[in-house]
Amino acid sequence: MKMKKLVSMALTAAMAVSIVSAAAYADGTFYIGAIGPLTGAAANYGTAVVNGAQIAVDEINAAGGIGGAQIEYKGEDDELDNEKSVNAYNTLKDWGMQILVGPTTSGCSIAVSEKTKADNMFQLTPSGSAQDCTAYDNVFRVCFSDPNQGMASAKYIGEHGLATKVGVIYDSSDVYSSGIEATFEAEAANQGIEIAVKEAFTADSNVDFSSQLQKCADAGVELIFLPIYYTQAGTILTQAMMMGLQTQWFGCDGLDGMLDMDNFDKSLAEGVMLLTPFAADAEDELTQNFVAAYKAAYDVTPNQFAADAYDAVYTIKAAAEKAGITPDMSVSDICEALKTAMTEITVEGLTGTITWTADGEPDKDPKAVVIQDGAYVSMQ
């Protein structure tokens, strides 16, 4: 009787071990997961990230995989909710994820980075731009950080002589917007730009902008800087038009997507300038191929989030091949190897030629576009 129990226990143990090892690693495949809001208010962003990464994964698999190993890929929804993002991470970990592309948004990235740090899993967020996203050494990003965007905007305005007296309208309840605003203000001083009007709104009062705009009009600013998301920008441009306020508008990547709003009167956005890492109408072969593949698969024009995610997957491929990792290595060993390799690679991506520093920040040139006749035109 005792013997029987012992045997059954041994068998159970053996089975448990075999399940754990067989599930994830023994099939010679890399397990890469992505997280983003696929439903909810920011569904545009998450869907673009998950789909953009899918295009890259399909291309890499068709071309022979990472160092000969195929990629198994899965995207999970986090509904723009920090807790759900952590749940999505746990789901992916149970599935066998070894490398994480994501989460898509800053708040979720920060929440999940606590977990990836504890597990020592390599995390590459395509678009988490808040400074704290890359606080840990296992986290890297593809997009510019918010502070970098604010600084780049002020530099761009100063160096191109666009304006010397500007107004800023930003969302003080949002870490993305207030992060950009802070560094814009700091750099504006160096560029000799006077911030004549600095007005905020919050998530709870983002319907009416007439006071903010009226103040800009009264102060006679030459340019209004909008480090905000496009949802509010549409209302701001319409209200400015109704007020008869004519000025130069300048924004960051949050304005990307404005032209895709249903029934948006594109003439409102005529002449709006924005810093964005990706323009779908760029003429280079890489962009053209990506846009064609994305349109064929999902029937929409990809935005910068899709491009960031696409670059993220290729970055992982480049770093993995540089480090020579294999699918049978542990999550932690993969992370250590990739961390070192990240600082040694150069990726020619959709969003520019990128290198990384050890603290996770990408180094690439900002690109500016101006909206003309309802389309992005690259500025030099």
Binding site: S172, A200, D208, S211, G257, D260, M261, D262, N263, D265
Partner: protein, 295 residues
């Protein structure tokens, strides 16, 4: 001075939209004795109906407004019949309150499914060429004037309806004592349905006005104005229609002026601070009646 007038009119315009929404809140509260937290989302549905008719189906603006009003009316009655009526005798008013929050999420999520989260730009119901009126150096948005006028006319019509017609009198009776009203032969269910129909029709109008002035339309468009309007209703004295109008206008003006002259970040804090002070001085709101318990 010109700037101040501009700010003031912007405040009146925003305030009259709050007022129209607040009237819906206050009527339903006064008669059905429940807080219909889904009211803000009915605004959003109204705006989407108008958007679909005007922009997608390319029909005249008037048809769109009419469709929004009728659609919201039907929606309001349906929600009341399905979600609130079975709970009317549940004993706890909390049950209906929670259901209302549930209905609010339901409407938002259905809108997300149908229209996606990508915002739509609402086509203003006023033609482009008539969008602003210029008086010397003074410039007014036509939609502001329309919002204010519609708000005033609606309050007057409602006052007439409630005080001069039989269904209106029935509403007053139900508001005072539902049990006694039904003993007097008034159909309480019918009256409550009528209340929801009128309140939701107002929400439909508010949706069109809101999105004509602030054109970004998303499934969450109604949520925040709905809550502000609820505040306006409490501010003016919940249950009182002129109170809702005054509360809405004051709220809009305070919001815009504090944004302008104090701080654009603190405007909500100031609005709510004023609310607290008003409620400390007059616990039933500006126009609220003090009802004495009779023994």
């Amino acid at each position: 001075m010109v700037s101040f007038l501009n700010y003031f009119i912007n405040g009146l315009s925003l305030g009259s939209i709050y007022a129209i929404i607040a009237i819906g809140y206050t009527m339903v509260y006064g008669i059905a004795k429940m807080l219909n937290f889904a009211h803000g989302d009915i605004i959003m549905v109204g705006a989407y109906i108008a958007f679909s008719v005007i922009t997608t189906a390319k029909l005249p603006a008037a048809v769109g407004v009419l469709a929004a009003i009728c659609g919201c009316m039907l929606l309001g009655i349906t929600i009341e019949k399905i979600a609130y009526k079975p709970l009317r005798h549940a004993g706890s008013s909390l049950a209906v309150l929670i259901t209302a929050i549930g209905v609010s999420y339901f409407l938002q999520n259905v809108a997300l499914l149908i229209f996606s989260s990508n915002p739509k730009m609402f086509t203003p119901i006023i033609p482009m060429s008539m969008m602003t009126i210029q008086l010397g150096s003074f410039r007014i948005q036509t939609i502001s004037l329309v919002s204010i006028a519609v708000g005033v006319v609606l309050v007057l019509l409602l006052q007439l309806f409630i005080n001069k017609t039989r269904p209106g009198q029935a509403m007053l009776a139900c508001a005072q004592d539902r049990g006694a009203a039904s003993l007097m032969g008034i159909s309480v269910n019918g009256t409550i349905s009528l209340t929801f129909a009128i309140g939701s029709a107002m929400a439909g109008i508010a949706g069109v006005l809101l999105c004509s002035a602030y054109p970004t339309l998303s499934p969450y468009t109604g949520a925040m104005p709905g809550i502000k309007a609820f505040v306006a209703a409490v501010f003016g004295g919940i249950g009182s229609i002129p109170g809702a109008m005054i509360g809405g206008l004051l709220l809009g003006i305070i919001e815009i002026l504090s944004k302008t002259y104090i701080s654009s970040q603190l405007s909500d804090a100031i609005v709510f601070a004023v609310l607290i002070v008003v409620l400390l001085v007059r616990p039933t709101g500006i126009m609220g009646k003090v009802v004495q318990e009779k023994v």
